[in-house]
């Protein structure tokens, strides 16, 4: 078995006339947290959708757990789970029903038990029997993520998991993501928050105008940044500065 949970090579995708992905390369190792960083419209969701078999690429190769997302989509779906950019919960069903629905669909034994333990883990026990449509944004997102954990998939895609959450909710999600990775789950998450990538990710890739322009650990990324500016004040660059500097450079080269 390959060491990589996700391998993407030369991935291309266009929507009508707009070329969104212009040859994306990235690799995610098993068990790591990988953050895909990019601004609005960079193509993060497009990559996630291709990897989770929702969208067909126009060219290049993409595989999950060694399985081609195009030709072996059925098998890929056995090992993945997707938490899309917008919480996809059934608002008419209760939190508990949402979870046991997914458990039934994934053939997990004892759906009710799984539902209860996930409700507890995500602090939703009190709201378990309320319709998910009445949940706050943060609660919906927690339920949404909980639904993705049903059946313990080995690779989880989280598309902007903390967008729209308050700082507390964000910290909870971070904690949960770390726990999952600690348990051996591979996580590919997208984010626009540099701090999030800095806090969570083992490795970070920056997607900009359809390509991955840098890819590495935080330490590696920091090395790319020009050394401290003056001899008197040593200043460690933040990821934000690195990000903006790189994008600026790329932009100037165009």
């Amino acid at each position: 078995m390959s060491d990589f949970a996700v391998q993407v090579k030369g991935l291309r995708k266009s929507f009508k006339t707009t070329e969104v992905l212009k040859g994306v390369d990235l690799e995610v190792r098993r068990g790591e947290i990988f953050a895909l960083l990019g601004s609005n419209g960079a193509g993060k969701t497009t990559i996630v959708n291709i990897l989770s078999t929702l969208l067909k690429s126009d060219g290049g190769a993409a595989s999950v757990c060694g399985l081609d997302v195009k030709n072996q989509a059925d098998k890929v779906r056995q090992s993945i789970s997707l938490t899309g950019q917008f919480a996809a919960v059934d608002g008419v069903l209760t939190g508990r029903e949402n979870l046991s629905l997914i458990a039934e669909l994934r053939d997990v034994p004892n759906p009710a038990h799984i539902a209860d333990s996930l409700l507890e883990r995500f602090f939703l026990t009190d709201a378990a029997n309320k319709r998910a449509g009445t949940y706050s944004g943060g609660m919906k997102r927690r339920l949404d993520i909980a639904m993705s954990l049903v059946g313990t998939p080995s690779v989880i895609f989280l598309d902007e998991p903390t967008t729209g959450l308050d700082p507390e909710g964000r910290l909870e999600v971070w904690k949960m993501v770390k726990e999952l990775a600690g348990g051996g789950t591979t996580i590919l998450l997208t984010t626009q928050y540099l701090e999030e990538a800095e806090q969570l990710a083992d490795r970070i890739a920056i997607l900009h105008v359809g390509k991955i322009i840098v890819n590495g650990t935080l330490a590696e990324l920091k090395k790319l940044f020009p050394p401290a500016k003056t001899e008197y004040i040593e200043k460690q660059p933040t990821l934000e500065e690195i990000f903006l500097a790189i994008i600026g450079k790329e932009g100037a080269n165009k």
């Binding site: 959708n49 997707l82 899309g84 996809a88 008419v92």
Partner: protein, 251 residues
Amino acid sequence: MKSKTIVLFGRLMKHILRSPDTIITVALMPIAMMLMFVYVFGGAVKTSLGDGVNYVNYQLPGILLIAIASGISYTAFRLFGDMENGFFARLNAMPIKRSSVLWAHVLTSLVSNILTLVVVFLVALLMGFRSGAGVLSWLAVAGILVLFTLALTWVAVIPGLTAKSLEGASAFSYPLIFLPMLSSAFVPTETMPAVLRVFAENQPVTSIVNTLRALLNAEPVGSEIWVALAWCVGIAAVAYLFAMRAYRRVA
């Protein structure tokens, strides 16, 4: 192991049972129209139909088709809802047969429409509907109604999958609800002006209504049943093709 289609069907039936407004609109609208046709227009129409015609019987087939046409707009509505909020995508990224997601919607449409039709039949019975039809005729009636529901369900799948807005997803059903008015469903076509009459006599609703009416009244059906069946199967087949094309684009 329960079929995934059945699991998802259970989910959609919960949607129906938990939104009373859906149930009310779907069942009450055709019932209200039936009350209106029978008690407001019925007296006047009867004089032109001649003595001995039971107008509740006469207009019932048209009301049933109206009930189906308004019922399937909720099929489009539910499908659009799943597309819109990402639930459809969530299911499509799961290890289940993709077609089960769509079939669950189709099955829900069939079952919920059948329930509505039963309610309409019961109300008609209270209003004086009487039928001397035998078992075979009743089976034929049920078969045609199910086939018509299936055909319109596939029609509804198309806007459900492709609409850009909620209004767009259900607006397609308005002409379908209106179509029985321009047919033999409530008044004989003989009284209509020429152009309208040609349209009325050649559109699908008229052959279906005439067939259902004959079956329910235990009268000879004639060749019109084949025209009715051809319309149902034809609409179902064409709509199915387009629905599948739309489906392949999104799933």
